[in-house]
Assembly symmetry: C2
Homo-oligomer: 132 residues x 2
């Protein structure tokens, strides 16, 4: 039988689109990347993912936990201690993500050069937003 066609992220109706956005989103990718290198506690993560607010980190972690990519281990001690770590699926996703991140980081000289050329051509008209 055919259970195919399955999930297509190019279809805006498909739930995979939402998950992809959780994973590739602004904070999702960095959070997964940070967790890949070592399981962490909340404020540890907050420090590694430079610039994230408490609110967004919390929100991001919940979304990733819900999608089964992150496991949350809360210990009812005092003071409370909570450890976050990737699930097996989360690891697989994070590996791809890290590959992408390393690639981008490694090729930034090329990117920067391309930007220079583009901006020179267009007399510094803006296209997309600069770079944050």
């Amino acid at each position: 039988m055919d259970d195919s066609i399955a999930f297509d992220v190019f279809d805006r109706q498909c739930p995979s689109r939402g998950t992809l956005e959780h994973v590739t989103g602004r904070w999702g990718s960095l959070t997964l990347g940070a967790l890949y290198e070592s399981g962490s506690r909340f404020n540890e993560l907050r420090r590694r993912v430079d610039g994230v607010s408490e609110k967004m980190l919390s929100q991001t972690l919940h979304a990733l936990e819900r999608d089964g990519l992150v496991h949350r281990d809360a210990q009812p001690t005092n003071p409370p201690r909570v450890d976050y770590e990737l699930t097996p699926l989360g690891r697989e996703v994070a590996e791809r993500l890290l590959g992408l991140i390393r690639l981008v980081e490694g090729r930034m000289p090329e990117v920067l050069a391309a930007r220079g050329r583009y901006d020179a051509t267009r007399g510094s008209e803006r296209a997309g937003r600069g770079g944050r």
Copy 2:
């Protein structure tokens, strides 16, 4: 010698962060994914990337072109014809991206199952936004 430390996406000051966001962003990832399978013209892309508006597609393409990931080939014919295709660097990025996309699509059953469990536990309190 040491030109190291180089680019670190975890640092919010680093320009690589901006590029990563162009690449993984809501429309960036889908646009690169669509372009990987075949160079396309504007409205062709618009159809493949279900849900994108003219404005956002245009904006996304410009950002990717500026970063040197997409090449724009405009022919001054009438009616005008413009072809977009990935640069070599763009291809490398898109490959990783596609790998990630395929992985997510293929594992959606697990993701959906995890969501079900999560929502059951939390009595349907919302965490992150559902899925869009």
